[in-house]
Amino acid sequence: MALWNERYEPVIGLEVHAQLLTESKAFCSCSTHFGADPNSNVCPVCLGMPGVLPVLNHQVVEFLIRVGLATHCSIAPRSIFARKNYFYPDLPKGYQISQYEEPICTNGFVTIETDDGKRKDIGLTRIHMEEDAGKSIHDQDADTLVDVNRCGVPLAEIVTEPDIRSPREAYLYLTKIRQLVRYLEICDGNMEEGSLRCDANVSVRRVGETVLGTKTEIKNLNSFRFVEKALEFEINRQIDLLESGGKVVQETLLWDAGQGVAVPMRSKEEAHDYRYFPDPDLVPVLVNADWIQQAAKALPEGPTGRRDRFVDEYMIPKYDADILTSEKSLADYFEAVVTSLRSKTVENFKLVSNWTMGDVLRVVNTDKVDVAKFPVKPEDLGEMINLIADGTISGKIAKDVFEEMLTSGQSPKAIVKRKGLVQVSDAGAIEQMIDDVLMKNKGQVESYLGGKVQVFGFLVGETMKATKGKANPKIVNELLKKKLESMKP
């Protein structure tokens, strides 16, 4: 590993396939719904029956314009589809409709933040439209089964320049892309389910060298961690090879996650000449300035912009804003809670931030629930925070209320009322309880008056216990201190 920084520099480029969340497929009206019975979302067009023709779903173009604008790409006024020819049983036409010589988006970039807080732009060569192939299922008994539901589902293929310099940067870039496509609501970003897929091109060269080394391509990277691991493996392999006087051979490798190794594909499988040529069944895709302008207007706020706004507008720490804007749904949730605050103060914004990052995220992560479908509605959480802010309940009681909201789905007011959780702030009542506590704990009072100030906490605790936690802790503190001071000789 150490060799990297001292003598070798990795050069990495990534190709990400993002499955688009359109209602219907790219070239027919079949549903793109995931998880349907095998071979049920099909028609003569996506089955590649004799005589059928593709007709472009314009939502695909709309989505590409969105991602292109969000990544600072030029949107081509005219782009064309090409056929990528190869034989495979899950590819009914014997070709994939893709874009080759004239893609819709070119020359963009995505900004990542490296671990030392620096910003780095990763250049995008292009983003183009492509239709997905079907799925071959090999692990069922003897035969290979083919499910063509996925055939024709639209993809955006996002191709970087060779700008990435470490597996960590690759990981950060992928995280950024995932966050971006989810923000744009064009892809669910689920790598395990295959809606985000990644191939990596990697080479190494001596530090200071400007010419690129021979690259290899790694496929089958179906998690962000695999990408990082596979790149580490391959970089080390290439360096070892060069160090021992060998040469890197340009080849395609398959990542074997089980063994933690990248294995060369059989040369027969990789010897593809895709024979790209313009698809004569489709007309050029024309995008005029109006369309781009409309799409730009409709473009949702991106994650970075939103984070900066959160820091400005709510004055929460950058750390908080980073976490809150990591997912669009979480940021939406936070802002919905803020909307239902009665008193819009910095303190309350921070309270909302704490609750969202703490309790909400904890449940989201352990129970794997979607924030958009979180059992506690944002307006209810907002109301609960209102109750804390106006002193009706304590922060401690609020924890119980939150748990109750999670399980019962009731409003915080109803819970507080039903369980009698309203905080006691009446000084008279509290004073009486303090007197009782001091009577019962004479020994501790003695030692406090004798200088053992640590006992104060114990006495506060006893008082809270006596009020079943309902006393306003601030008032308890004040009164207790006053009382004890007055008992000093």
Binding site: P44, L47, G48, M49, P50, G51, V52, L53, P54, V55, L56, R83, N85, F87, P89, P92, K93, G94, Y95, V146, K268, D273, R275, Y276, F277, P280, D281, L282, V283
Partner: protein, 471 residues
């Protein structure tokens, strides 16, 4: 043999019915089965449809093509019927849907009588390349009817259908029309939806009609033309009533004679007939001038590079994996592909797939495919320039009349030259029509080709109709 006009008159007069007509056509098909023009015949369905149309005629609700008995080249899909494309690889394939043209014909009450034999996947100029045997010329069974729509041409010539729908990728409607002595119209690329036409070369393929008269072709075009949502390449251009152009008036018409189309290889009898047709037009008020299409010599080469490139990709889907012929003995995937395709395709189809694969291959793409695309644009410009000064072009449809079966099967290049005058229209996307005009010294029909501007079928139909009445 009846034209659609005659049928309409008889139906109006009550001297026949659709049912009786259909019965007669079915009888002719049966009697002429030796010509091998049909691959499937829909006897029962056709009669049922005829009865339905008779009822509609009685009710006064019948469509524009009521009484027209149509056969369909077996490369166009008819729901629940086989679509073999003349190939063994699709022998058992039944289409789950109707081509748009079939929907449109049926909506206007045409009666679909069956599917016609053809060169495999429309690749051929003699209808000898069918997995189901060759089609014979009605006039002389030792000769070929041209191709690839040879079955359609023979069906019309022999009175087995009023009209037949064919496909024309490089002359496949016009050349057989010429050989058999019928009218064959290839409309502008994009005028008629290709949805449901099994693709040979997608940027060249056009669906058109073969009929006894130009008027019948015009009637069919009226119905099948027009934009179709299911075909992105179909044009959103208004469809006129093409029969209204058939006014037998060519006064002031500017006719161009492309000099490159009268060179070496043109049969003298054909030349004489075409010259006579030009004289006829001149005598009746048309002006005639010689024009030049300078890139003509590259036509066949360009066509065979680009069309085979598209075909190699279009025919990839016939791999034995999902439908169609699958070889039995293969042990692995590659073996299954190889065996299924080797056994399922005929030799001409394989030759073109290999040619097309080659011209698209890494290292050859620029030299062949890309260059071919450039030359195609030059050929298109030749026509655009010619149509600046003339309204249509008159040429021979084919260099010869119908040749003997077997005469050219072993010499693909000579066979390809049979399309030398027709492929340019497909390269340029312009409409063309072949109309019978005279006979050679053996009594075999000669066709004259009229080429027009894009989407100006009206002019070429007008000229064809005129020549038809003058011949």
């Amino acid at each position: 043999m009846k034209t659609f006009e005659t049928i309409q008159t008889e139906l109006r007069a009550g001297t026949t019915t659709c049912e009786r007509l259909t019965g007669e056509y079915l009888g002719t098909i049966e009697a002429g089965s030796g010509l091998n023009a049909f691959l499937s015949v829909f006897s029962e369905k056709a009669v049922a449809q005829a009865r339905l149309v008779d009822r509609k005629l009685a009710d006064g609700t019948a469509g524009k093509l009521a009484g027209m008995v149509v056969s369909i080249k077996d490369v166009i899909c008819v729901k629940d019927e086989r679509v073999t494309c003349g190939s063994k690889i699709l022998e058992q394939f039944i289409s789950p849907y109707n081509a748009t043209v079939v929907d449109r014909l049926v909506a206007e009450d045409a009666i679909i009588v069956g599917k016609n034999n053809m060169d495999e996947f429309a690749m051929g100029s003699s209808t000898e390349n069918s997995a189901y045997g060759r089609v014979k010329l009605v006039q002389d069974e030792t000769r070929v009817p041209g191709g690839s729509s040879g079955g359609s041409a023979v069906a019309v010539r022999a009175g087995m259908a009023t009209v037949s729908l064919g496909s024309d990728t490089g002359g496949s409607i016009r050349q057989p029309a010429s050989f058999t002595g019928v009218v064959g119209l290839k409309p502008t690329y994009g005028r008629v939806s290709r949805f449901g036409l099994v693709a040979f070369a997608s940027s060249f393929d056009s669906i058109g009609s073969l009929a006894l008269t130009t008027r019948d072709c015009a009637q069919v075009l009226n119905v099948i033309a027009g934009h179709d949502e299911r075909d992105s390449t179909s044009a959103k251009i208004p469809v006129p009533d093409f029969t209204s152009a058939l006014d037998k008036n060519v006064i002031g018409l500017r006719v161009g004679i492309p000099k490159e189309y009268f060179g070496e290889g043109l049969d003298p009898d054909v030349r004489t007939a075409v010259e006579k047709s030009i004289d006829t037009l001149k005598k009746n008020g048309a002006t005639v001038e010689e024009v030049s299409l300078p890139h003509t010599e590259y036509t066949i080469a360009t066509y065979y590079i680009l069309a085979t490139a598209e075909a190699s990709s279009n025919l990839a889907r016939y791999d034995g994996a999902r439908y169609g012929y699958r070889a039995k003995k293969a042990r692995d995937l590659a073996g299954m592909y190889t065996a299924s395709r080797s056994e399922g395709f005929g030799s001409e189809v394989k030759r073109r797939i290999m040619l097309g694969t080659y011209v698209l291959s890494a290292g050859y793409y620029d030299a062949y495919y890309r260059k071919g695309q450039k030359v195609r644009r030059l050929i298109q410009q030749d026509f655009l320039k010619a149509f600046d000064s003339v309204d249509c072009l008159i040429t021979p449809t084919a260099p010869t009349t119908a040749f003997k079966a077997g005469e050219k099967v072993d010499d693909p290049l000579t066979m390809y030259l049979s399309d030398i005058y027709t492929t340019s229209a497909n390269l340029a996307g312009i409409p063309g029509i072949s109309v019978p005009f005279g006979k050679d010294h053996q009594g075999l029909p000669i066709g004259v080709q009229i080429l027009g501007r894009q989407f100006d079928e009206a002019t070429i139909l007008k000229v064809a109709d005129f020549l038809e009445s003058a011949s």
